[in-house]
Amino acid sequence: MTATAIEHGPEHGHAADDHHHAGESGLATYLENTRRNRLGMWLFFASEAFLFLALLVTRFYLWRGPHGEVVRPELDQFAGLVVTAVLLLSSYFMNRAEVSIANDKRTDFLTSLLITAFLGTAFLVGVVVWEWGMFPGIVKGHLKPTDGVFGAVVFGMTGMHALHVLSGVILILNVWWLGRKGHFSGERHWGVEACAIYWHYVDLVWIFFYPAIYLIGTTIDVPH
């Protein structure tokens, strides 16, 4: 039974030999391991959802006007729209990469990964330079982290999300590097799948964060 085989591959898979020929048992173990990995990944997302929900709760709890109405600070709407579009576009190329390796199209796979990593980096640069104003010589930001709860929540939410994007970009570049060395195949590419669903997840989080930060509530002027 595959149910008792563990991730240590065919050499200890006394379990896997029940109804598979020797050549197929390695793949059967791999598939069972992939099922476990996939479940583990989704449980990880469930856990992370609580982190992002806590940040959303914080935003709606703290951003209140003098009469308790939902407010938001004045931010650069154009910057928000551009980075959001860039991130959504990157998810398309991530999906293209996964489909390509599933069909053993290595060149398309590698190209799509590079485009995804580039768009992810563009998102990061957009947030850090444009919205945060980390380099006031280029763009002067709207808020500082110390601007009461408005600064705290904007930098807290975008910062936590940017940290996830950064880790995603590093993961993508790692997968790209391994793919170039010939790793992954149409049959065995859990690493690519994990990277892809992580990237989509980070993207999904931004779909909730963007309106919470940029769109919902009446604007309120934050003096510095």
């Binding site: 563990i6 609580f50 806590a54 982290p145 705290a152 807290g156």
Partner: protein, 627 residues
Amino acid sequence: MSLFTLGIARGLLGQVLGMVIGMLLTCAVRILLGWEAWAAEPAWTVGAVCSIIGFLLGVGSLDDWLKWTRGIPTPLHHGPPVDKPAWTRYFSVDYNHKVIGVQYTVWGILLLMVGGTVAMIFRTELARSGLQFLGLDLYNSFIGMHGMIMIFAILLGVGGMANYLVPLMIGADDMAFPRLNALGFWFNVPGSILLLLSLFIGGWDAGWTAYPPLSARGPIGYQLFFLGVFAIGLSSIVGSLNLLVTLLRMRPEGMSLFRMPIFCWAVFATSLIQLTATQLIGTSFLMVSVQRAIGMGFFDPRGILGEVSPMVGGGDPVLFQHLFWFYSHPAVYIFVLPGLGIVSELLPVFSRKPLFGYKWIALSSMAIAIVGFLVWGHHMFVSGYNDILRIPFMYATLLVAIPTGVKFFSWLGTIWGGKVHFDTPMLFVLGAISVFLIGGLTGPILATVPTDFPLHDSYFVVGHFHATMFGGFVFPFFAALYYWFPKVTGRMYNETLGKIHFFIMTPAFWVQTLGQMGVGVMGMRRRIADYDPTLGAGQIENWQMAVTIAGFAIAFGVMLMLWNFFQSAEVGAAAGDNPWRSRSPEWQIPSPVPEHSFPAPLHVVGEPYDYGLADAGYVTTASTGDD
């Protein structure tokens, strides 16, 4: 053999180096920015982050993943290390769940002793009114330290039981993710070291709950406290994820969810809470941490729009309490559900009767876990939050009594009419039931708003809480230690010493918890170093002295147990494979359990708890098929 063949020695070295590198890095960045080179708080904070990474790199629990990033295959090594003595595997990274379970348990017991020692120190101070030998700040740090170290110890004890037992109980070779399992344990070591270290750089004097604004203005020790909690929290999250995948995907043929040993249900419910709620304590502590470090004012009420209204743009300390208790209330169910699972697991074995209402017990664990998410506000009845919130939180809290009551009556139904054997594990199970009953009955008093008001923040709460923790974790944990000691070591503990331990500890704990409640009703507040000796018609000092003496008696009992285990592991009589005549899979294999636990896959052919029924099998192995 040099000391550094031990993973833990390399890890500690890595932690020290990480700390130094982190501090130097901070100074370098500050110099580049043109600021003064040394600032204690950022240096310690960055240093502490690097020290956790340094420990993990040093101990070697990241090695395999670093190889994966370079595409190097890493076949899992089985058995003791080839070129070193076998015992060294317990001090190094090892992927066998039985080794990791022992590592968790031993580290947990060590922390239990540290936390207990701290408690003995401040209990001695409290035996008389006035200040004898502790300063106020140190006293405050000590009570917080006792709380948080005990929480670490309990989480480690839970992890130890779950990691050792769950794969054995479901007939799996190991956990679903052995590397993650090892990482989950090793996070705890640098985490607890940071927590202890924080005492020496100022401590943290606002209790284990770390409420701002006090924690936002307290000593630097808070940053290390937060990072220690992050490390333990990461351990909780990866550990529970691993257990859930193991339970969901690695059960043998025929073991449906309702045919698992009941402890597995308790672990399943616990893991669901640990996986999700733990994020909230991390988030709330991270917010305080960045408020301290870079002035992000989540909980700082000073508004920025002063001319409109003083409050607009200001943070809110009550938000912290919401986020914090969203974890920290479910956390008490993380502590007690596995313990209650142990009670349900052991009662049928020692009563020689089927478990009464298996499905009800299984589902009551899930019900407690789910309702537990909806009750955090009962910690905040006097916090000044919206009055209207008190009512739903009061009713939700009272609702917890229903699934807990289901457990109690199922336990009574199991014992009823059974052939009860009073071995030490069974005594501790019965002790757990009696103590948890005290904790359970005092719960509704605190859950009801009008009775909570006069008792809030009094020693009554302390008494209630200790009764739930001892009944829900400590007594069942000790029962589990006595019960599975023969399985882990192959030898039997000394029964007489075990019974002496029980008969010292149980009455002592009754005195302690009822005494704590008593001084609370007299007007003793929790977290206070000095008290008015005229309280309780001048009797309070006698009560306090009784609580202190009871505390020392409990400590003596625990020392007796540890001595018993040390002694028996060497000279105890051979225990045989199944001294308790249990039906559970782990007792059908040799003691101590071999490297690969089960020679062949299990097949489940019956119900787990059909004790006393003739020809009612539970598990069989496919290869032999004769048992």
